[in-house]
């Protein structure tokens, strides 16, 4: 009996606090309906009080965000024209001086309390949430899988070769939350009703563990995208690609796209791996060497074992660049991989005379 009274008292205390909060929220945190004007053409009306990132997402405008609105990734930048209030100390570490001048803000830190006018890149309107069915799983290596998703709703996608999608991992025994992770699209833009992602197992990774150990053909998942400014620039320069592991995904999309349209640009793809066990899609890329006007595939192994019988290139990739770059001023580079690899490659390319603003990368 006594325990019953104790529980009751505790419940009354927390209950009355909740009631006070609800009342306060109703009277003081009620900002009514607020209008968000996006790019001067789309107007959406939301209930005030929440943050801008979520308000936009509820209205199907997806601003890229890796941390989910906690102000720790700095991806959700938008240009705030009017009504966003002063820049908060929580945003400052993520904004450069020129961004501050341009009124760039983190949308997850802006609270919608009045009418707001913002400007976002036009392509973000293209970002949608897709329901998709897993129709094919290929084991490329012992730790890399290629997964093809049939898009169900909406059933087509427009993207540029090199962009990425966010895959939502459903709840499963290792994760009690729905987690989103970004993976580059490896299929070509011309295939609009399905996409392929290449996913490498990360030890203890929430999403990759699900993909490698739990996902089955026929599973239905959510994808959000396409995102990213890592895509082929429409020029006529030579191209150097550098990517290893699952970094091959965006490069595969780019090269297959060029192969389909028989591009005459001179292209060289350096694929970095440790041993022959880490190589995949080698025959396919060697086939492109024959069918494309000017494409060279250069796999480089950093630690081939003696039993591999490897006769190709070994060691680090950067020392080989000078043999393949014919005119540094007329060369673009597309790099995909770890920040350390990208820094090393970028340094060598700049040394050789490639312009820094023509080196595009996607680091993960």
């Amino acid at each position: 009996m006594e325990i019953f009274y104790n529980i009751l008292t505790a419940t009354i205390i927390s209950g009355s606090l909740s009631i006070i909060l609800v009342i306060a929220e109703y009277f003081f945190a009620n900002y009514g309906d607020c209008k968000i004007t996006v790019n001067n053409k789309k107007e959406i009306v939301v209930k005030g009080g929440g943050n801008l990132l979520n308000a936009l997402a509820e209205n199907k405008i997806f601003i890229p965000s890796a941390c989910g609105g906690r102000g720790s990734c700095g991806f959700c930048k938008v240009k705030a024209l009017d009504g966003a209030g002063p820049v908060l100390p929580t945003e400052k570490p993520y904004l450069s001086a020129s961004e501050l001048k341009d009124n760039i803000r983190l949308s997850c830190q802006i609270k919608v309390r009045q009418d707001i006018k913002i400007h976002i890149p036009e392509e973000l309107f293209n970002i949608k949430k897709f329901k998709a069915k897993i129709v094919e799983i290929i084991d490329y290596t012992y730790d890399i899988k290629g997964i093809t998703f049939q898009l169900l709703e909406p059933n087509t996608v427009d993207f540029k070769a090199g962009q990425y999608m966010q895959l939502e991992t459903p709840k499963y025994e290792k994760s009690k939350q729905v987690i989103s992770r970004a993976y580059s699209i490896s299929s070509i833009p011309d295939i609009k009703d399905s996409i392929q992602l290449i996913i490498r197992r990360v030890p203890d990774g929430i999403c990759t563990t699900w993909v490698h150990d739990y996902m089955k053909l026929g599973d239905i998942v959510n994808l959000v995208g396409p995102f990213g400014d890592f895509y082929i620039r429409d020029t006529e320069t030579d191209i150097i690609y550098v990517a290893g592991g699952s970094g091959k995904a965006p490069i595969k999309s780019m090269i297959e796209h060029f192969a389909k349209y028989q591009s005459t640009r001179k292209m060289t793809y350096f694929f970095g791996a440790r041993t022959t066990k880490d190589l995949y899609l080698t025959e396919e890329f060697q086939e492109y060497e024959k069918t494309m006007p000017d494409f060279t595939y250069v796999p480089v192994l950093s630690a081939p074992s003696p039993d591999d019988g490897w006769t190709g290139k070994t060691g680090f990739i950067p020392p080989y660049f000078k043999d393949y770059i014919r005119d540094p001023l007329n060369t673009e580079a597309y790099l995909c991989g770890s920040p350390g690899m990208i820094a090393a490659v970028e340094k060598e390319l700049v040394n050789l005379g490639v312009a820094k603003d023509k080196i595009y990368f996607d680091s993960f």
């Binding site: 008292t9 909740s18 100390p89």
Partner: protein, 196 residues
């Protein structure tokens, strides 16, 4: 009950038994928000404010509700609920009535709802059997001590931002080492006033 003037407790809580540097409470926001002095000041002020406010509320709740109803063993959960509700309520009010204060202090309130320094103050006031005035002195001192520690750390971190820190120590590593050295400095004060 101990017979120490609340003001002595106030001073002692700042220097001799700094809640952060001698009890290591409130570390998470201390480490993550100490990159810039400006933000640290805002967060520190929020901690001072919330610590005093919640310690007062928790004191009343403890001695007027928990003790008479003999449910002292529920103090942990009740204190947490009271702190969370008080912080939420304060945030709602500040946001509505003082936008200027909200932008300098209010935005940090959600970050410290679950700050263990604030919860620690509530527990220490019970363990050490403080009176109400002693509790207020202790809470204010602890809050200001925390503010002092985070401002000092933010100042140091701003100064070493451009310095060469070994790659493996960058970020959290060097911050923890700095915190350790600061804590060593504060050990020099310890024992000069006993407040428990």
């Amino acid at each position: 009950m101990i017979d120490i003037h609340p003001f002595i407790i106030f001073l002692a809580a700042i220097f001799t038994s700094n809640i952060l540097l001698s009890n290591f409470l409130g570390m998470c926001s201390f480490l993550s928000i100490s990159k810039e002095v400006e933000a640290s000041l805002g967060l520190g002020m929020a901690v001072v404010f919330v610590t005093v406010l919640t310690a007062a509320v928790n004191y009343v709740v403890y001695y007027q509700i928990l003790v008479p109803f003999e449910i002292v063993y529920l103090q942990y959960i009740i204190f947490i609920i009271v702190i969370a509700a008080t912080v939420q309520l304060t945030e709602i009010f500040i946001e509505r009535f003082s936008p200027a204060l909200y932008y300098s202090l209010g935005i940090f309130l959600p970050l410290i709802t679950v700050n263990c320094a604030i919860f620690g103050v509530a527990l220490f006031m019970i363990i050490r059997k403080y009176t109400f005035m002693q509790t207020i002195g202790f809470a204010a001192g602890s809050g200001i001590g925390w503010l002092l520690a985070i401002m000092a750390l933010a100042g140091i971190r701003q100064r070493i931002k451009e310095k060469m820190v070994p790659a493996g120590l960058q970020g959290a590593g060097i911050t923890l080492i700095i915190t350790g050295i600061m804590a060593l400095a504060f050990v020099g004060f310890s024992g000069s006033v006993i407040i428990q």
